[in-house]
Amino acid sequence: MNVLRVDLLFQIVGIGIFISVLNIVLKQAGKEEQAQLLTLVGVVIVFLLVIQLIGELFHSFRNIFNL
């Protein structure tokens, strides 16, 4: 049976909170460049998760509607 995947949501929320906390810490320590790179890496990781999910959506659309 299909399940609603709450774990993916919590994964993305966790990455977001983690990145913002580490960003604050790095900015307090005066390391602006590392904070910028950390933001970029966080966005890329979340983007990879969402891209996989969208790929799954397209796959199931193709299966169901014979596209």
Partner: protein, 128 residues
């Protein structure tokens, strides 16, 4: 009880997006896309059952399967185009959303041409 799951998921997603948006608006936007896709993937599993029932009924009634298949493809293209347009509109790109809807309409029109020709041929055969 599935609706309870979906509503709970939506409320949790909305509150987390509200929470994340203050510090990281970009991740909040990706999170909203992800939550929407999770709900759609969940509902597509049930939609598959509905479509199986409709296909069985059409086979029982001995309707030409080409028509049903074209109808299902049109429904799929319409759903997918609507979804993509909504995602673009959420990101504030109204013009790209309008173009996606336009492309969906054109592709549906191309898919519907064989049915249109069949209807026209049957009408012409009625005329003596």
């Amino acid at each position: 009880m599935e609706i309870v799951q979906v509503v709970g998921f939506g409320v949790i997603a909305a509150v987390s997006i509200l929470f994340i948006r203050q510090s990281r608006p970009d991740i909040a936007h990706l999170l909203s896309i992800g939550a929407g896709v999770v709900i759609v993937v969940y509902v597509l599993g049930y939609l598959r059952m509905v479509i199986d029932v409709i296909t069985d009924l059409a086979l029982e009634a001995e309707i030409n399967t080409i028509f049903l298949r074209t109808l299902l493809r049109v429904i799929g293209v319409a759903y997918l185009a609507e979804f993509g347009a909504q995602v673009c509109r959420d990101a504030g790109e109204n013009s790209i959303a309008a173009k996606i809807e336009f492309a969906g309409k054109i592709i549906i029109l191309i898919m519907a041409v064989p049915i249109l020709m069949a209807v026209l041929e049957s009408i012409i055969s009625f005329i003596p």
